[in-house]
Symmetry: C2
DNA sequence: TAGATTGTTAATCGATTAACAATC
DNA sequence: TAGATTGTTAATCGATTAACAATC
């Protein structure tokens, strides 16, 4: 194949590069060397060059990297040029906060529908996105070409819903529930375990 | 000192161990071997034993680990036996969702006050936690022994607020804003970069 | 006791950093 | 051109896995 596997460590750093490059662009900075960027980001210049060279030679000897084009390239690598249709499962506080966050749409993530087990929410909406009863979720996924589901329901309820939506061809799950989901190998799960994060903070405070 | 530094990788795994042990306890399971736990958690038994032995020998040869006492020990290691007073900065949707999440209190994290630049929210509350104007934040931190601040405001506003609260002796920041905060070395920052997480998911979907 | 399983040392693997020839 | 900086190889460092003696 020629395509070598990219390590999780590298993948996790890509969004941060993207964020810094976006900021440099906003500041009107045209070019940057790996050394300058390394000082801003507090990493080694060597790491930046190694990371980027996993995906191609974006730099120019003696010049550095063009901020604008590197920003665009990393955006492509991250898949931000592809549109994704999302659904949210769980219209609680956290779910509503995420559905209400319009900025994701700039990056191609479009929230199409919200599902909740509480039928009394039926007919309500968040930012114009309708809240629907959970038993219509399969049909909605198939009819609206949904590929990402955001899971914001209690841990005990998650696995059952995930099993159902995976059967409909959902490709990725952004999981906010406090449980590790068991899915087929070709389904992506990205976890946001808030309580784990808070415990980590708690541990670090003791030191 | 005798205390060797614990790697970030190990620290990040601790909350997951805690979660699984809590679940085992709820299932009424009394003891577990590193091998059994490794199968549940999908890691190696060797890693589990190595990780735990950073903190002490919690197991018994020929027996394994006592679920209940290991759960308690990891809770202690994570600092969950210490009470922490929190404030929230930013009463937007995400902030309210976090303030509204009562479960953190079981782990000793008690939300004492909410601050927002929008003075019209003054007098409102979330779960009985008062929303106050931002200019009272310093006084509140000092008078209420606050050690953790949760930051849920736009990236552009974060650094200014963080500078102010760090001066009042805040020990840790749970940062939900999309920016890397620059703080003195003794202040802990734990980031929850939701957009980074979504980009990671986006990248993984392409593969 | 015999079997099971830990705690820990050694071996392996992978990721980060350093160095430098290539080259703009 | 001379200086700067990349892309990439080699060296180092750290984390994970394997192995096994200790021991319950």
């Amino acid at each position: 194949m020629g395509i070598k596997a990219i390590s999780q460590a590298v993948i996790s750093r890509l969004p941060r590069y993207y964020r810094y490059l976006g900021q440099l662009r906003d500041e009107g900075i045209e070019r940057i060397s790996s050394r300058e960027l390394s000082e801003r980001m507090n990493v080694t210049a060597s790491q930046i060059r190694q990371d980027l060279n996993n995906f191609g030679g974006f730099g120019h000897q003696g010049y550095g990297y063009n901020v604008d084009s590197l920003y665009i390239e990393i955006g492509k690598i991250l898949g931000l040029t592809t549109k994704h249709n999302l659904i949210l499962v769980g219209a609680g506080n956290l779910g509503r906060a995420i559905a209400g966050y319009a900025k994701f749409e700039k990056r191609g993530f479009i929230m199409r529908g919200i599902f909740d087990i509480d039928e009394s929410l039926n007919g309500q909406d968040v930012r114009g996105i309708p809240i629907m009863p959970l038993d219509r979720i399969e049909q909605f996924i198939l009819e609206n070409d949904i590929d990402i589901a955001v899971i914001c329901i209690p841990a005990t309820a998650s696995m059952a819903v995930v099993d159902r939506i995976v059967k409909c061809g959902i490709k990725a799950i952004w999981n906010f529930s406090h449980v590790d989901l068991d899915v087929p190998r070709d389904v992506i799960v990205e976890n946001v375990h808030l309580s784990d994060s808070l415990m980590r903070l708690s541990y670090l405070m003791k030191q």
